[in-house]
């Protein structure tokens, strides 16, 4: 990035699991950070938190002074696919255009390992669409794997809850590429601070993948000692979840999330770029957490 401007890092979704951890890490590193939240605690007087709603109009002034923007915001509350697309995909594309118009030099879009060519998952398809726009603008995409760590959030947190069941459901052949949260933060730190990062998709995850069963047993109380698992055929379960969603039943896991678990990506993209930048990702283990 250009050296003639004071670095200022913007982070959208800064009250989310990854966003908040990233903001804390960036500040601990001594970097100036602007947080973007749907509802800012003090829009006018607070210089560090700016208001930004993916579903609303974008104002290029929101990005004033920002040199690098990490776009981690994603609104998972919207379940209607059409409205979710308008809010997250169209909103992210507007945000991207607005940020670049405002002179932001680097945009890093936090996508997902669920976004891969051929995915049938709504979430993955939406992330892929934003990825394309980011790449067309010569910016950077990262695809974190299943993030776990001392204080798991997101999908790992949901899986940890499921792992407390007396019998844990597992799916034949299901696996995930995992990412320790500290490795995520270290990788993002590098991507934010490096002078040159090629416009590309960079998978942030350890390869090879870990089986779903192994992950669930590791997340279970007592690391799965004595925990029973049951192999569940995922097709009927997916159908049941979809029916339950139609009936508006509150569910611990969405059908779309299940699809992401049982139909994961086949590999981690951009390993050459990650290697070139010195990014490394530890094998899956929760023993030390």
């Amino acid at each position: 990035m250009a050296k003639d401007r004071e670095p200022l890092v913007g982070v959208t979704g800064s009250n989310g699991y990854l966003g908040s951890a990233l903001v804390a890490a960036l500040r601990a590193e001594g970097l100036d950070v602007v947080e973007y939240r749907r509802v800012a605690p003090d829009v006018i007087g607070n210089a560090e938190v700016r208001q930004l709603d993916l579903g609303g109009p974008m104002d290029a002034r929101a990005f004033e002074g920002v040199t690098c923007l990490v776009h981690a915001a994603w609104d998972l509350r919207e379940t209607d696919p059409r409205r979710a697309w308008e809010r997250n995909v169209e909103g992210s594309k507007r945000l991207l255009e607005s940020a670049l118009d405002a002179g932001v030099e680097r945009v890093i879009f936090v996508s997902s390992m669920s976004a891969y060519f051929g995915t049938k998952q709504d979430y993955g398809l939406m992330k892929l669409s934003v990825e394309r726009a980011v790449l067309e603008s010569n910016q950077v995409v990262v695809r974190p794997g299943l993030v776990y760590g001392a204080q798991s959030g997101g999908m790992a947190s949901t899986l940890a809850k499921l792992a407390r069941l007396p019998v844990i459901p597992v799916f034949s052949g299901a696996h995930q590429f995992t990412l320790h949260v500290d490795d995520f933060l270290a990788a993002m730190m590098t991507l934010v601070q490096s002078d040159e990062v090629p416009s590309s998709v960079i998978g942030l995850a350890h390869e090879p993948a870990t089986s779903f069963k192994e992950i669930m047993l590791a997340l279970a109380p007592g690391y799965g000692g004595g925990t029973k698992t049951i192999a569940v055929p995922w097709h009927p379960l997916l159908g049941l979840l979809r029916v339950a969603e139609r009936l508006r039943f509150p569910l611990p896991v969405r059908s779309d999330s299940l699809l992401g678990l049982v139909r994961p990506a086949s590999g981690v993209p951009g390993r050459d770029v990650a290697h070139h930048l010195g990014l490394s990702f530890r094998p899956f283990s929760v023993a030390a957490e």
Partner: protein, 533 residues
């Protein structure tokens, strides 16, 4: 510096656009220069001066004639203002022969070339297309932008921008026809379901002045108001402003370099004499096959098979449950209205593209013969009301392409014989990929509201797409005499530059005239920059 451009199609126009910015460059264009017949041109001119409601019936009949399809189920060759002049032999097709079902009207002698009759689709190649080229798309970006800032352009930001950026200020498209509009609205409603099947849909992007369109429905037979871009418009402007000296009535025979200076020998269509034109730089833009013959004849490449890469065309009729109210082409523009894009990889390298056309009178003759029977006229009409014609393209690496074989000219001053023959290269992938395309369309049918009529899906014969090139593909370091450097130079020449699709390393499924123009502009721009040190 004195520059000679051979040809007056889109590639030539792009070179002229690039050169016209430098007042110290003297530009001469030699061209076959075939023109629309006076009678047809007069009718077009009269119509251009009034609104459609004031048009004389005779004029309308004259300019809207269509040709009859040579084969059932096939679209007929297009006509422009009732004329075949873009395809006619003014001398440039001398010695051209074809084998099998190939098309012999492969070199245009018209002023403006095939852009007199093109579909006006204007789309940047995907970034990943350039994985096979010796330079990245970023090397062409300023040239794409320069062209899009010069020619008329109607386009809108939609999902297709994920692979194809707009890169220029654009008019909105005129109102779409009923069928295409319904398909696009269905896509908006069911976007994720459609995309789950690997299908993207977006509006057409056209080289037309959309804001001025009066929706008279005559686009496919020539816009009376000249709102659809033709390279002839560029040359009209540049000749009028004195930036270009245009000399029509010449068919280029050979070219070369003598004592370090390039020349072109061309036969006058009036006198039959061969005259020699000299310049400091020559840009060859005769269209992919015209250029291939000119270069191969000049270098004596007799009895060698030269492979042409082609983005093979296929036709896929799409039927909807609901039909349009009236079977008419009036009230809408009739060019390509929407595009279906089918990516087969993540980066957007392996893409298939289908252009969706609303009803136009040219489709009547393409119906199966049974439906053309008087008794079934009602059925035919009901079908046509529900029909959208998809003209699809496969990338050249999934298409067989065709070969060119040159033989020595029969007499001095004649053009070399040029025989086009089918090729087997890549053919094994064509049908399986077409099947994969159709499968995706079938899977998406419930969500788009149109069903592909699978038995009527047909592959066009090689050469029919007019999207061919690659006889002298760009290479970073050309190793063979059938390669050109990144400035379109074939050994041993230093100041002769090929600038049309003959230098394309590949022909993707994306509509390609804009990219021909951008690449020609790039070559001309770089040549000027190089000559100025």
């Amino acid at each position: 510096m004195r520059v000679l451009i051979v040809g007056a199609g889109p590639a030539a126009a792009a070179v002229a656009i690039a050169l016209s910015k430098s007042s110290d460059i003297e530009v001469q264009v030699i061209d076959v220069g075939g023109r629309l017949e006076d009678e047809n041109d007069a009718a077009r001119l009269r119509m251009s001066k009034s609104g459609p409601s004031d048009w004389a019936n005779g004029d309308l009949r004259t300019v809207s004639q269509t040709a009859v399809a040579s084969k059932r189920h096939r679209l007929p060759e297009k006509r422009v203002f009732g004329s075949d002049f873009p395809f006619r032999d003014f001398g440039q097709l001398e010695g051209v022969s074809v084998e099998g079902d190939l098309n012999s009207h492969v070199v245009s002698g018209a002023y403006g070339g095939f852009s007199n009759t093109w579909g006006a689709q204007t789309m940047v190649f995907s970034d990943a297309t350039f994985d096979d080229w010796p330079f990245p798309r970023s090397a062409l970006e300023q040239d794409y932008r320069a062209i899009l800032n010069t020619i008329p352009y109607s386009a809108e930001e939609d999902d297709l921008a994920e692979y194809f950026p707009l890169w220029g200020p654009a008019d909105a498209l005129p109102p779409l026809g009923e069928g295409p509009d319904r398909i696009l609205r269905a896509y908006e409603r069911n976007r994720i379901r459609v995309r789950r099947n690997g299908v993207l849909v977006g509006k057409a992007r056209l080289a037309m002045r959309g804001a001025e369109c009066v929706s008279c429905g005559l686009c496919m037979t020539g816009c009376p108001y000249s709102l659809v871009y033709s390279a002839s418009h560029t040359f009209d402007d540049l000749v009028r402003s004195g930036r270009v000296d245009y000399v029509g009535g010449y068919v280029a025979q050979t070219l070369g370099e003598q004592e370090g200076r390039p020349f072109v020998a061309a036969r006058s269509l009036n006198s039959g004499r061969v005259e020699t034109f000299h310049a400091d730089k020559v840009f060859v833009a005769c269209g992919a096959l015209g250029t291939t013959r000119l270069v191969a004849q000049s270098l004596g490449m007799w009895s060698r098979r030269i492979h042409m890469s082609e983005s093979q065309q296929f036709l896929v009729p799409l039927l909807s449950l609901r039909g349009m109210k009236d079977l008419t082409q009036d009230g809408s523009f009739t060019l390509n209205q929407f595009n279906i894009v089918l990516p087969f990889d993540e980066a957007g390298h392996d893409l298939v593209q289908i252009h969706g056309y609303p009803y136009s009178k040219a489709m009547d003759d393409a119906l199966p013969s049974l439906l053309q029977h008087q008794v079934l006229k009602g059925v035919a009409s009901a079908l046509l009301k529900r029909l959208t014609v998809g003209l699809g393209y496969l990338p050249s690496w999934w298409s067989p392409g065709f070969d060119v074989l040159l033989t020595r000219p029969e007499s001095e001053g004649a053009l070399a014989g040029m025989t086009l023959t089918p090729s087997a290269a890549g053919e094994e992938l064509t049908v399986p990929m077409l099947r994969a395309v159709v499968k995706r369309l079938v899977m998406s049918a419930p969500y788009l509201g149109v069903v592909p009529v699978v038995p009527q899906v047909t592959l066009s014969a090689p050469t029919k797409s007019y999207h061919f090139g690659g006889s002298f593909p760009h290479a970073r370091e050309p190793k063979e005499d059938l390669e050109s450097d990144v400035l379109g130079r074939v050994r041993p020449w230093r100041d002769i530059h090929l600038v049309d699709a003959s230098v394309f390393p590949t022909v993707p499924a994306t509509t390609f005239t804009l990219s021909i123009m951008a690449n020609a502009h790039r070559i001309a721009r770089c040549v000027i920059e190089e000559s100025r040190g």
